[in-house]
Amino acid sequence: MLEGIMIGLGAAFSIQNILMVVAGCLIGTFIGMLPGLGPMSIIAIMIPVAITLGDPAAALILLAGVYYGAIFGGSTSSILLNAPGVAGTVATSFDGYPMARKGQAGKALTIAAVASFAGGTIGAILLVIFAPVLSSVALRFHSAEYFALMVVGLSAIAAFAGTGQVAKALMMTILGLILATVGEGALFSMPRFTMGLLDLQSGISFITLAMAMFALPEALFLVLNPMRGASGDGASNKITNLRFSREEGKAMIPVIGRQSIQGFFIGVLPGAGATIASFLGYAVERNIAKGDEQAEFGKGSVKGLAAPETANNAACTGSFVPLLTLGIPGSGTTAILLGALIALNVTPGPRLMIDTPEIFWAVIISMFIGNLVLLILNLPLIPYIAKILAIPRNYLIPFILFFTLMGAYIGQNNATELLMLVGLGVMATIFRFADYPLAPLLIGFILGTMLEDNFARSMQLYRGLDFIIERPMTLGLLVIALVLVLLPSYRARRARKRAEGVADGD
């Protein structure tokens, strides 16, 4: 193994491969910033270029750079415009956007960049140490465990159930779950709730719903409320200020430590990935945060921003474990990477590390260089990117609308998406007027399909609900989910009682 790492080091630091990693990261991070263009479509477009290179190591280094570069850059539109372009950055907008509205866009982008860098780098370290042994762990998870993991992910909605909105948050989650059932699911050969419309056959697309729930109502609110400044509600105009305080830095360190490890291991599971990792990271960090810090979540918490950003980058790195050591793609993006490798006559699997260590290790080691490149590249650009919010509102609002519409359209090249976007956007605006939280709807939607598929598969394999009892890991995960949901309300009640007790004492 050590010999392999040495060969990989040599290969990764060749001039050609350093150029590849820089090029991949550059392309990935810039295109990732645009909502609507996820890593999957960028990589699909880059494949002919990569194949022309002829060298499998160089090709994979380039494409991997595009992949984690896009996850790195994906947080930008979530933070600045409340427009998460890929599912993995939805959780980033929960605290990133409120922070930007407080006039701290520069700080939010810096925290996201630092957290992404740490998540990616720690993930790569874990990859070097554990990749050879982790492939068997990835296979411990059956459909039953994935179902339980999705339930744990859903418990992230508890974070939005604060301040007496429990019923509203639950209703929105259920609405999200219902929206996820539209279309022809993986398990049924019948279309559901499509009302006979061909355009609903494949379901509602994530990007359309995300733009309609978050970005579009936000732009409408800017129009409806002329007093609401585009650059933020706060008086502070230091949107280009990058600094976060020493205390904030200290608060972030344990979050980054925990989430890079948790995120990495969730990424290793072929049926989970960056999205689940970011929701779980957010849910866990919110639950273990104390009192005041917990109340900050959703209102621009440093921890709430660092957690999903660390987790999604670590998970992205972790997803290379099943890809490289088993030849199994865990997501659409890694499936395309697998296709590219096979086209270059490299078959990923247990023998890849033994037969062609120069490819295996060069790719992993290039990730260290890549993450450093991304940090160096992004930090100096942040003041300029953050200045987008300083654009006068009569120019900014059309800009946001343009990106929102474009994001929904280019996903499918289908004009019907635009109609759906507007319809759903109007619905979301009404919900916002009525003070319903929209994030639980999106969480329910994203997790709904996977929740249902894995549940139905387990039911079919075990002919009933027996899998909950027969599989201890499933039971364990479900108990964790229950604790994550109940703990906040138990704490709240205890705090209230204590407060009453003090009052009585007087």
């Binding site: 072929p270 699997g349 023998r351 280019i410 598969r457």
Partner: protein, 328 residues
């Protein structure tokens, strides 16, 4: 899940502009068509996308076609693109749509109202066989072992696949069971939403066997992760000759997941002839051989009327089986 609409169109325009000059010199007199527009009913990176782009690359590289452009139009399991091709037929003279076995299955189940009969058939160009595979540490060594295990406990025998119940992977497994004289409705079919997820299910031991595409199985069989019990080809396939066919194990069933091209209804005979000539001549070019080998495709060429006969036969076989299984 597509891509860059406008950016790509700019790139294509630029590429076309340069090709317009380069193309004439390169074509050395055998250029059949000036340009072909490929309509892809799914997103970038999928099987249809790879087939269209690979074919376009070979056709332009060999100088048979001056330039190629591509358009991804997902939705409705391919139905959106089919409807587009029919509704706008008059303006889509130079368009070829890629499709595959699911067009037959999905028009049978009524996912979309049209069928291949509503389009102009150009040719079936490539194919992939199907295979039943097990984990390499499984005790099942042959189709006989698999059938014995199945007879012992039919309802507990879980076979997975990367398609919906009644989809291609399910049908292939049912076809093999039926040909072996077993009840094709009795096994427990476990659907996954993609081939990769289904493969993970097999390796994790959740399912006992997996119905999947042959080329996908070969990649993992070469790594020693899975064992191929039976291929739905007439004879052993060169790409992995260790894998026995269903036929040689006494299970008389064959199946090809074809991929091919369709033109708009009412396209002129002259234009159709050019499409078919270009595709037929493509097989002998080194450019095609490179694309084909890189993707592990098998040349299965069915032109025009042969293509119609092939599709009608497949529609009948699949339709009968789906009736047996209760999907129609």
């Amino acid at each position: 899940m597509n891509t860059f609409g406008w950016t790509r169109r700019v790139a294509i325009a630029a590429a076309t502009a340069t090709l317009a000059f380069g193309g004439i010199a390169q074509a050395d007199g055998h250029q059949v068509l000036d340009d072909v527009h490929f309509l892809i009913p799914g997103g970038a990176g999928g099987g249809w996308d790879g087939t269209a782009r690979g074919t376009g690359e070979a056709l332009t590289g060999a100088g048979l076609v001056g330039s190629a452009s591509y358009e991804n139009m997902s939705g409705g399991g391919g139905g959106v693109a089919i409807a587009h091709l029919i509704e706008n037929a008059a303006s889509l003279e130079n368009t070829m749509m890629v499709n595959s076995t699911p067009i037959v299955i999905r028009s049978l189940t009524g996912v979309f109202p049209q069928s291949f009969r509503d389009l102009t058939l150009v040719a079936g160009t490539i194919g992939d066989y199907a295979a039943l595979v097990v984990n390499s540490d499984s005790e099942l060594q042959s189709m006989d072992d698999l059938l014995a295990a199945y007879r012992a406990d039919a309802s507990g025998f879980a076979i997975g696949g990367g398609s919906v119940p009644g989809g291609m992977d399910h049908l292939v497994a049912a076809m093999a069971m039926q040909a072996a004289g077993e009840d094709p409705t009795a096994f427990n079919y476990i659907p996954y939403d993609a081939g990769g997820a289904a493969m993970a299910g097999l390796l994790s031991g959740e399912i006992k066997a997996l119905s999947t595409g042959f080329s996908e199985a070969v990649a993992l069989a070469q790594q020693g992760e899975v064992r191929i019990l039976g291929v739905t080809a007439d004879e052993r396939v060169d790409a992995f000759a260790d894998a026995p066919t269903m036929k040689e194990q006494g299970i008389d069933t064959t199946f090809v997941n074809w991929r091919g091209f369709f033109a708009a209804p009412g396209v002129s005979d002259a234009q159709l002839g050019k499409f078919q000539t270009a595709l037929t001549q493509m097989y002998d070019t080194p450019e095609w051989e490179e694309v084909r080998a890189r993707n592990g495709w098998v040349n299965i060429h069915n032109n025009g009327d042969d293509f119609r006969a092939f599709l009608e036969n497949q529609e009948k076989v699949i339709g009968d089986l789906m009736k047996t299984l209760g999907f129609l």
